[in-house]
Amino acid sequence: MSDAELVALYHREGNVQVLGTLYQRYMDLIYGVCLKYLKDTEESKDAVMRIYEELVEKLRKHEVEHFKSWLYTLARNHCLMKLRKQKGKITVEITEPVMQNNDLWHQEDAMHKEEQLSTMEECMQQLIQEQKICVELFYMQGKCYNDICEETGFEWNKVRSYIQNARRNLKLCMDSKLKNK
């Protein structure tokens, strides 16, 4: 059953076991998220349980369309709240909302593919050198981060952020250019 089906079932029957099944699907990820923010295995274990309890309550009241992203937000907020309580005020790096589902590559229809590809070429030229290299290696040549690191000598983290930023820049560039045409 899909997430949405399970959510609907839980709404209908209020059976917590249904929710358990659903939660298990993302438990690994949630534990990882908790580890990232809380940086402590014991606290993270506890947080996974707390988030589940929160989920039982909140999902009953909310209509949730995209369970996964909703759950992610719930989990992250839980961790951030916990940190705030622990240390008074704390600045946590909040990663910019990464675009989901609305990738520019899905907008196309066959008619405009050609046009889009040429626009993409133009936009690629506008990227800074590092971003361009990484994007080419990653998307055109299908290499993984490790390969790119070896080839370019960039750090793993850098490679990742180059690609992410390049994607964002490309999208902005594409959007404005296509709008103008």
Binding site: G14, N15, V16, Q17, G20, Y23, Q24, R25, Y26, M27, D28, L29, I30, Y31, G32, V33, C34, L35, K36, Y37, K39, T41, S44, K45, V48, M49, Y52, E53, V56, K68, S69, L71, Y72, A75, R76, T95, P97, V98, Q100, D103, W105, H106, F138, Y139, G142, K143, C144, Y145, N146, D147, R160, I163, Q164, R167
Partner: protein
């Protein structure tokens, strides 16, 4: 590039993450994984978490899974508590009404000799025994059911009140119902009268039955309207959605509907509360909880209306005390709530569409209050809104009982504002 959508559906587990972090994946697998990370901030965060922690989380995850399995039982119990509470309340109410019914029924049989007493019972006793009325309302209704089981259409019949879409025969019956049902207190004093009285309508009922060729079995829906803190809401309106036929709760929030259907969709309305729809079943006592409107905050108009209405009413009442020869049995404020709640929507539509600066629409009625609390000779004395006259008369006719102060038939006035 175009395969993103499909890859996104894959839900990576810790096993995958571990393989990725330990470079145990093939290059193309890693590439796909990295793409997925980019589209999925959750996965990306999780990978960061495991990478920074730099240990094998397999054991910890197993522990968490065990704990999670232990949780549901606890949570299930928690969420059931409320249901158990509601069920308990229903059981108590049900058994209470059964017990009362038994007691009442046996009283009827045992106290047979004192037949004529009813007429001697003074109206004051009704008022004095207001409290017993709640219970007897449910009890008395059982009689009422037998009285009305042969109504032709799936008409919903208010417990002790009128039958909106009734025929002439039904009009007659209504009077009888009034006599039977609206004297619960009197009946407890001199119970046998009900047995006596209920025979009459039954014969009338039979003639009605003959005239209406089809015979439909009706189900009884017993309900109670309360607010969120479980206080009964007096004179709330309950309307069946399909037929538009409705009734209203008594001063204690109790109501009864009869219908051939087994499940009814009803719309409730009570001043200062959010109108609600509910599904009624014919088993047990259905509780309908209405939320306080103030909590929702964006609909203060009724509250304002109510305050204004109350003030005006109070003023009027003090102004004309010397004239008043009869009052509503349940008090002015309850009566006003009844009028507000049970005003037909189309009449209210009139009201809301009119400009505020316009003259208030009101209908002053003059009528006789009989010793039994029924109203007759209802006439329009003064009216600023012709279209409202009919509705005003209907409201009074179908409304709660009045009480004449002298105990005799008295003429009095009431103004309905729209």
């Amino acid at each position: 590039m175009y395969g993103l959508k499909i890859e996104k559906q894959i839900n990576y587990s810790y096993h995958d993450i571990e393989r990725y972090l330990n470079s145990q994946m093939t290059r193309s697998e890693m590439h796909a994984f990295e793409k997925a990370m980019m589209d999925d901030p959750m996965l990306s965060d999780a990978v960061d978490g495991y990478r920074l922690a730099n240990y094998s989380a397999t054991d910890d995850l197993a522990v968490i899974t065990q704990q999670l399995k232990a949780v549901p039982a606890k949570v299930v119990r928690g969420s059931f508590k409320q249901w158990i509470r509601i069920a308990a309340v229903l059981v108590v109410l049900l058994s209470a009404s059964v017990v009362l019914y038994r007691i009442y029924y046996s009283d009827n049989k045992n106290a047979a000799p004192a037949l004529v007493k009813t007429k001697e019972v003074k109206e004051e006793q009704i008022a004095a025994e207001d409290e017993t009325k709640v219970d007897s309302a449910t009890v008395v209704l059982n009689d009422n059911v037998t009285l009305n089981t042969t109504q032709p259409k799936p008409v919903i019949i208010p417990p002790a009140k009128t039958i909106p879409s009734a025929t002439l025969q039904a009009e007659d019956l209504k009077e009888q119902n009034f006599a039977v049902v609206d004297k619960p207190a009197a009946q407890q004093q001199a119970a046998p009268s009900s047995a006596n009285l209920s025979k009459e309508p039954e014969t009338k009922e039979e003639t009605a039955k003959k005239q209406s060729s089809e015979q439909v079995k009706l189900n009884k829906f017993v309900g109670r309207i309360v607010d969120e803190s479980n206080h009964p809401l007096p004179f709330a309106n309950i309307t069946e959605k399909n037929s538009g036929v409705g009734t209203y709760a008594d001063a204690n929030g109790n109501f009864v509907l009869l219908s051939a259907d087994t499940v009814l969709n009803v719309q409730t309305k009570s001043l200062g509360h959010i109108s609600n729809t509910a599904v009624l079943r014919s088993a047990g006592v259905q509780k309908i909880i209405l939320k306080d409107e103030a909590i929702v905050a964006n609909a203060p108009t009724q509250e304002v209306f109510y305050d204004r209405y109350k003030k005006r009413k109070e003023k009027e009442n003090t102004d004309t005390t010397d004239e008043i020869m009869a009052i509503p049995v349940d008090g002015w404020s309850n009566y006003n709530i009844y009028v507000y709640n049970n005003m037909r929507d189309d009449a209210q539509g009139l009201q809301s569409s009119t400009n505020k600066t316009q003259k208030p629409r009101e209908v002053q009625l003059v009528f006789d209050v009989n010793p039994d609390g029924s109203l007759t000779n209802i006439k329009v004395e003064r009216s600023t809104c012709r279209a409202c006259n009919e509705e005003a008369i209907r409201l009074l006719k179908e409304g709660p009982k009045w009480k004449s102060i002298s105990g005799k038939k008295e003429s009095t006035r009431f103004t309905v504002r729209f």
